[in-house]
Symmetry: C2
């Protein structure tokens, strides 16, 4: 029903990558998957899966289910993952180095094409297969061929400057892992992944599930 360019609800957009992960996990094992099975593995309701997928188009077969490989191809195309996305990491400390070799990025179609740090001792050394460049040369290094997404993994005091350097270099979007807010111009999508906040949300939900025992 939904042609290729239609509006997709925000809540659905946030779930589509989860379906993508599940599909990748079962790919090879089964040819087709029902909305019920997909829902169980994604942790949502079956009707939710059907409605979400219907925004992409009518890719299922009634009485049968969804063809895993076909749906994967359609979703990857829609996500722009048919060609690899280019990412750059700013801040090659513990977290930056870990993310550079984190399997989840490559598995989801992202390639680390550049890495930056401010520490002169790190310049010229490598993280994975990428040579580390100075932050001061970011604009020249990224040059005309800018990256799709910049990943900020610098210490708190350097986060704002790192984000600004990425914006000047023409980055498409920024993922900020520093546990502090940064401000960027409105045309650059920004997402803050504060891992401590993830823990807080998780435990706050837990408190609501269990009878509180603290005073």
């Amino acid at each position: 029903m939904a042609p290729d360019g239609a509006h997709i609800p925000e809540a659905t957009v946030n779930r589509l990558p989860v379906y993508l992960r599940v599909l990748n996990e079962i790919s090879g094992g089964t040819a087709t998957v029902s909305s019920e099975e997909l829902a169980r593995r994604a942790g949502v309701q079956a009707a939710q899966v059907r409605k979400d997928l219907s925004y992409l188009g009518s890719y299922g077969t009634r009485g049968v289910g969804y063809d895993v490989e076909f749906l994967l191809r359609q979703m990857n195309r829609r996500f722009g993952l048919d060609c690899p996305r280019r990412a750059a990491i700013v801040g090659v400390g513990n977290l930056g180095r870990a993310l550079a070799s984190y399997g989840g990025f490559a598995a989801r179609g992202f390639e680390i094409v550049a890495a930056f740090d401010i520490d002169p001792a790190k310049i010229g050394t490598t993280v994975g297969r990428t040579v580390i460049s100075p932050v001061s040369e970011m604009e020249e290094v990224l040059g005309a061929a800018s990256v799709d997404v910049g990943v900020v993994t610098v210490p708190v005091p350097a986060a704002q400057a790192a984000a600004e350097a990425l914006v000047r270099s023409g980055v498409g979007a920024i993922l900020n892992f520093a546990p502090v807010s940064v401000v960027v111009p409105p045309h650059v999508p920004l997402r803050h992944v504060d891992l401590g906040i993830e823990l807080q949300i998780l435990l706050f939900h837990e408190q609501h599930l269990r009878p509180a025992m603290g005073a």
Copy 2:
């Protein structure tokens, strides 16, 4: 209006830690903050902030705003952050090691009290101030004094076993960073932080903001 034990909407729970981060950032600088200022820094509407905070109680002062320190204390108490929360890391690879020293955990009141790995060469060495124990001894090490949250940072094939070991050890909740789903009993809150999926969501939103230029 909302007494201490009232139900708080899920959407609000997900935003409260963001307000907490903002409050911590402006703490010391200003004595009071308006819902408008708080909203601007958190990236939401002012009315949203007022409604969200009203679920915690009437902690603001009409005509003035919210007392930053007082609101911080109330929220920290409500989140159980007045005493430090205990976390354990399973899998001391790049990501596990990075998270062990990640400032965001300590800044949000979490303390890494145990670390586990399967590699014999790592057993007995330290990550930060924590000695690494074998995964096989998790139940004994955690013992009666279980941890609030277990953080899974093992490679994909080991993720399910790591989650099960945490459950056997009586963990309160699990945060899974492996780029694969794991299954746990329903009484253990589980959250999957797949960083590649974060990138996908970010870029998918970006596609909707800009005119698509790919074929």
